[in-house]
């Protein structure tokens, strides 16, 4: 027994392990699989789903009216031609970055703590990208025509997209990202779907999970190809996740608008995306682990690590703000200098200073362990971070556009009720998808968490492991 405890301690971290004590293969499997296999539909889950569905209804209404009337129902006007639609697009895409970061980059770095949060962070990514994609598509006003504006396919008009435009790069980047994220997620699910198939008691569930599991048997050959494929997917997703938000930032950086035309944009956008993504993972993880009693799988160590990633990326973002201000001043360009002055003292100064307060001042509370280990503080902070990252895109987009080169074209921007309805509606879509995911899909990667147990480590005597050195 003493040996067992010792082994468990050395296999994980001493004080705060990535998996709770006293777990075995069966207890892990049971804790995760009972949620999709159980017949219970908890009251809290039903309420959450209803809230999501209400939002989804509002989204349908907002889209229906938009298609009927056109985009003039939004608050977009002549200097501020890009507003809520691009703010919300960038916000959602940014949130989507944490999922791939956790499942790909942390996999390459052999960070074991990623295993129990990867599955639902990836689901979050997919749903966030789905929400994001709606905004540029609907901003075209006629999304049914967007096919030939966006995708290169031979059409009867003989038209081809402009491949020199960052907007087309964005289409390629976001659609590749969405596809690869879905593929990665599905590949990760296959062994767990086999577990669901083998544990299901009702025929319908056995049939559905059995079909989706594709006949997975978990043979040594299966697992070998599976591990190789996962590693390749992680290797491919790593440059992909860094490129997506870089390309999104090109939408701005390649233009000549003061406040957008900056070389710092790609790294600064990527850091901001990871920062907001981890904010959203915390917003989701803290209530889920409490509600479904998964504290032994998503431990305080996970919360602590995510807080540290947020602190690091938050500081990069704050450095980005500082450099943006420095470049604006150092450029000695009157438009750049005016843009900065307008951001700091103009009519939208409140949004700039609130942003600076959260991302450059408040974020420093994460240096304190007492904050990182306090779930209430972390939950509230994760919501504040999401708000701040929304404000960041508002500041970048609205304050750069509303007072441009010619004074006579200056105008103020204010969103309409339809803007808010559309934004709230995408949250409804996100909540709906996420609640369905929580109930019907194993939300923690069971087979990966099994490998965290000390008894999952094997020892091969010398002379037998002919090919497998370094495993």
């Amino acid at each position: 027994m003493a040996q067992h405890v010792h082994a468990q301690q050395s296999a994980t971290t001493l004080e705060h392990p990535v998996i709770g004590p006293g777990q075995d293969y069966e207890s892990i499997t049971e804790a995760v699989s009972e949620i999709p296999l159980g017949k219970r539909y908890p009251f809290g889950w039903i309420i959450g789903l209803l809230i999501g569905l209400a939002g989804l209804g509002a989204l349908q209404l907002a889209i229906g009216y938009l298609l009927l009337k056109g985009i003039y129902i939004w608050g977009n006007n002549v200097p501020v031609g890009w507003a809520f639609d691009i703010i919300n697009f960038v916000w959602w895409i940014g949130i989507g970055h944490a999922g791939t970061l956790i499942s790909a980059i942390l996999m390459l770095f052999k960070q074991q703590w990623r295993m129990s949060i990867a599955r639902f962070a990836e689901a979050m990514t997919i749903f966030a990208v789905a929400c994001a994609a709606m905004f540029p598509l609907l901003h075209t006003g006629r999304p049914w025509l967007a096919a030939y504006w966006l995708f290169p396919y031979p059409n009867t008009m003989g038209l081809w997209p402009q491949f020199r435009s960052p907007l087309i790069w964005d289409v390629f980047a976001v659609s590749t990202y969405a596809t690869v994220s879905v593929v990665f997620w599905i590949v990760g699910l296959i062994p767990d779907l086999a577990t669901m198939r083998d544990r299901a008691t009702s025929n319908v569930k056995r049939m559905v999970f059995g079909t989706l599991a594709l006949g997975w048997r978990g043979s040594a050959r299966h697992w070998h190809r599976y591990e190789v494929a996962s590693l390749i997917l992680a290797g491919l997703s790593t440059p992909l996740v860094l490129s997506v938000h870089s390309v999104v930032s090109f939408d701005f950086a390649v233009s000549v608008i003061p406040g957008w035309h900056a070389t710092i944009f790609p790294p600064y956008f990527v850091a901001g995306a990871i920062y907001s993504g981890f904010g959203m993972v915390l917003t989701l993880a803290i209530p889920i682990r409490a509600y479904y009693k998964l504290e032994h799988l998503i431990t305080m160590k996970h919360i602590d690590n995510m807080a540290k990633v947020m602190l690091a990326t938050g500081l990069i973002v704050a450095y980005g703000y500082a450099m943006e201000a420095f470049f604006g001043w150092y450029s000695a360009n009157q438009y750049e200098r005016f843009m900065l002055w307008n951001r700091m003292t103009g009519p939208y100064a409140w949004s700039y200073w609130l942003l600076i307060f959260i991302n450059a001042v408040l974020i420093h509370v994460l240096w304190f362990k007492s904050v990182r280990y306090n779930l209430k503080y972390m939950f509230v902070l994760s919501l504040i971070v999401n708000l701040a990252m929304w404000l960041e895109r508002f500041v970048i987009i609205v304050t750069s556009l509303h007072r441009d080169f010619v004074v006579s074209s200056w105008d103020m921007y204010s969103p309409t009720a339809w803007d808010f309805m559309m934004f709230g509606g995408t949250m409804g879509l996100f909540i709906t998808l996420f609640f369905l995911f929580m109930k019907f899909v194993p939300m923690i990667s069971i087979f990966e968490v099994r490998t965290l147990l000390p008894e999952a480590k094997v020892h091969v005597p010398h002379g037998h492991d002919t090919h497998g050195s370094g495993h």
């Binding site: 048997r217 043979s219 190789v228 390749i232």
Partner: protein, 182 residues
């Protein structure tokens, strides 16, 4: 060396183990005993088992590399053809073959092609989807996706003889040995 076999309707024999280390030890002994048509089934990846039993690594990475190259060429030629040959547009006097601008879509298609190859290739090389396999005939095998470990020696194996193989598997410390119907 052909020993008498009674393998009518028999796919093989399945031994159940209850720890990762015991199935690794059992696989080593089975391979040392000369068995070659065998397979281990585990609830989580144990990379060492493939090296012990199959001694062969997959060709998937080469396939992915090849498809990555195809994706890059597809992306680049598509853009070159559309922007230079089929639909050249003069934008501010820039040349039609602005290759630096074509890098990003080419890069994205490289990743798209290779990711799809990695996923679909893994599934196809594993022979999935495969709704039927003899191992599913054993009731206990449903635990292979939860917490039990199984070693199957196929009846096709040259060394297979039902009685001897069964007692061999028992001798490896199996918690149970079951017939696998074909």
């Amino acid at each position: 060396m052909h020993v008498s076999k009674d393998k009518t309707g028999l796919y093989g024999l399945m031994a159940e183990f209850d720890s990762a280390q015991s199935i690794v030890d059992a696989s080593i002994k089975a391979v040392d005993a000369g068995y070659s048509k065998l397979e281990a089934y585990t609830p989580f990846p144990i990379e060492e088992l493939n090296d012990i039993i199959h001694k062969k690594r997959t060709n998937l990475p080469k396939l992915v590399l090849f498809m990555a190259f195809c994706g890059m060429m597809t992306g680049f030629t598509l853009q070159y053809w559309a922007s230079v040959i089929e639909y050249p547009m003069n934008i501010g006097g820039r040349p039609p073959a602005t290759w630096p601008a074509f890098i990003i879509p080419s890069y994205e298609l490289t990743i798209l092609f290779s990711a799809l190859t990695a996923a679909i290739g893994m599934i196809a090389l594993n022979g999935l989807p495969q709704p039927y396999h003899p191992v599913f005939n054993v009731d206990r095998f449903s635990l292979a996706s939860s917490d039990k470990f199984f070693l199957v020696i196929e009846a096709e194996d040259a060394h297979f003889a039902k009685e001897q193989t069964s007692s061999f598997l028992q001798g490896l410390g199996a918690k149970g040995v079951y017939d696998v119907a074909e």
